[in-house]
């Protein structure tokens, strides 16, 4: 059974309870939007799933892999890629090096070269700037690079933290469209954490709504968009 299964997950941040008894599932190939106010625990969820943060109790599995028992660098090897908040690229490295970094651990160099070609086809702007330092890129380009770097690790489960942060509306639309396309074309399972709730839900298959570390709603995306309570609290109309 291919899926992301999270049950009774609790994570503490010092004295603060960041995630409180969280349970939900995402089927393979689905794009799930995680929405909620600042401090609702969305980022903590991603950091816990990718192995950056340890959980207090509960369980989380990607297929057969126990996500709570692995370090980040190991989980990557099991198909879990995380694009952390705020344009997760290394400014001091070139675009090419940022991409290569994601595939360092892969033994099959021919395959990783193919992945790179594919990414450059998907984001032609990166191809034009391969030798430039990452900090010379625009915000949107950096986000593309961050996603590209994650794709270089041949992920099955992609964790995206606020890809729209600080980007112009037009660029946001492009990025969202790219995420939707990649999910379909590569058969990815995506967990998309977003402040831009409407934008995210529009491209998502399902959605999970967080409030103060708890799941308050979990449904198909169109249903959530239609839900008056969700609309009022998170969609702003």
């Amino acid at each position: 059974m291919m899926s992301l299964r999270i049950s009774n997950l609790t994570v503490d941040h010092g004295a603060i309870r960041a995630l409180d008894d969280v349970s939900f599932e995402i089927a393979r190939g689905q794009l799930c939007a995680v929405i909620g106010a600042n401090g609702a625990g969305k980022t903590t969820l991603l950091r816990t799933l990718s192995g950056l943060k340890s959980a207090t109790s509960g369980s989380a599995h990607w297929n057969e892999t126990n996500l709570l028992h692995g370090k980040a660098e190991q989980l990557v090897r099991h198909g879990v890629s995380h694009v952390s908040e705020g344009k997760s690229v290394i400014a001091e490295l070139s675009v090419k090096e940022n991409l290569d970094l994601g595939a360092l651990w892969r033994r099959n160099k021919k395959e990783s070269a193919e992945t790179k070609t594919f990414i450059i086809e998907t984001f032609p702007r990166l191809g034009e700037r391969l030798e430039q330092r990452a900090d010379t890129l625009s915000g949107g380009e950096r986000q593309m690079l961050a996603i590209g770097r994650a794709l270089m690790s041949k992920p099955e489960l992609l964790l995206l933290d606020e890809p729209s942060l600080g980007l112009a509306p037009l660029v946001v639309a492009q990025i969202f469209q790219a995420i939707r396309d990649l999910t379909t074309s590569m058969g990815l399972t995506v967990l998309l954490v977003e402040q831009n709730a409407m934008g995210a839900l529009k491209i998502a298959d399902t959605g999970v709504v967080f409030n103060l570390g708890k799941v308050v709603a979990n449904d198909f995306a169109p249903a959530l968009i239609a839900d008056p309570a969700v609309r009022a609290a998170y969609l702003g109309y």
Partner: protein
């Protein structure tokens, strides 16, 4: 004229030693963002081990690589049992910024005491493997000898090899990435802890090379408080900073510049001002060129 040439040569050869040390400092800095003030102590310890290898194998050229391996192992061990713990424990709170500096200073003290326990407070000698007698041009003897030439070549070779390693290999990419952004590197699948240990090991080997080559080039002796190593501690750091701390090429250039400036101050001004000149040069560079002489360009390329 003869004095001018010799002063320049003295500057270049002493500068190449500072360069080796600066390379070691830059290596640790680039892979861990820590300035390792224990680097000179580690180099000293490796040189003592090299001294033992010379006694066993009766050959400097066998002992040199063995000392470098030993230096690498010592450095790796220090990172494994000590620095990892430090990063975990003291990475938060008001002292976080200064904790690694203080810790490496403590390490320096421990290493010195350790050396004194085992080898005693006495001078030990390492013979020069090749002649240190200057080449003769006409009636003049130049301040450059086969040994000094070897040191110069060794520094340049080490710089070249390490630059290739850093810029052209996957390992180098992992090393640089881990230093700049450990978390992103982990997310990309880089085993950051292991890579850092490797960075320490490389630095340990470079430091060992500096110690092994400097000892026969200086007064030829080794003691727990060898002045050469206090020099290396301070001048290696200054050279690294002149070079911008990030770049290996910068470290080598920084070493040579420092060596030349000091040699000229010594010859033409006064021996008492050598150390303070190092300080002044450091401050001038830090204020005028905050990113080092090739920092701006080098950092971009790195």
């Amino acid at each position: 004229m003869y004095e001018l040439i010799n002063t320049t040569l003295i500057g270049i050869t002493s500068g190449s030693i500072y360069a080796l040390m600066a390379i070691a400092i830059v290596l640790v800095w680039r892979s861990t963002r820590i300035v390792n003030f224990a680097q000179a102590g580690m180099a000293l310890l490796s040189t003592y081990l090299g001294y033992e290898f010379i006694r066993i194998f009766h050959s400097f050229w066998i002992a040199l690589p063995l000392a470098m391996v030993a230096g690498a192992l010592v450095a790796a061990l220090i990172d494994l049992v000590f620095m990892r713990l430090l990063v975990k424990h003291a990475s938060q709170g008001p002292i976080a910024a200064v904790a690694p500096i203080i810790a490496t200073l403590g390490l320096l003290g421990v290493i010195r005491a350790f050396i004194s326990f085992f080898w005693g407070n006495q001078d030990l000698a390492i013979d020069s493997p090749i002649s240190n007698v200057g080449y003769t041009v006409g009636t003049h003897t130049l301040a450059i000898s086969p040994l000094k030439l070897a040191i110069l070549i060794a520094s340049l070779a080490l710089m070249g090899v390490l630059t290739l390693l850093f810029q052209r290999t996957n390992l180098g990419l992992a090393l640089r990435a881990s230093a700049f952004a450990p978390e992103i590197s982990r997310l990309a699948g880089v085993r950051v802890d292991g890579v850092r240990t490797l960075g320490w090991a490389l630095a340990g080997a470079a430091g060992a090379a500096a110690g092994m080559l400097q000892t026969p080039n200086g007064t030829g002796t080794l003691s727990p408080d060898s002045i050469e190593f206090s020099l290396l501690l301070v001048f290696g750091f200054i050279a690294a900073v002149i070079g911008g701390l990030e770049s290996l090429l910068g470290a080598v250039l920084g070493g040579l510049i420092l060596g030349l400036v000091l040699a000229f101050v010594l010859t033409y001004i006064s021996g008492s001002l050598v150390f303070i000149t190092g300080f002044v040069l450091l401050i001038v560079v830090l204020i005028a060129l905050p990113r080092g002489i090739i920092g701006a360009k080098g950092a971009r390329r790195a």
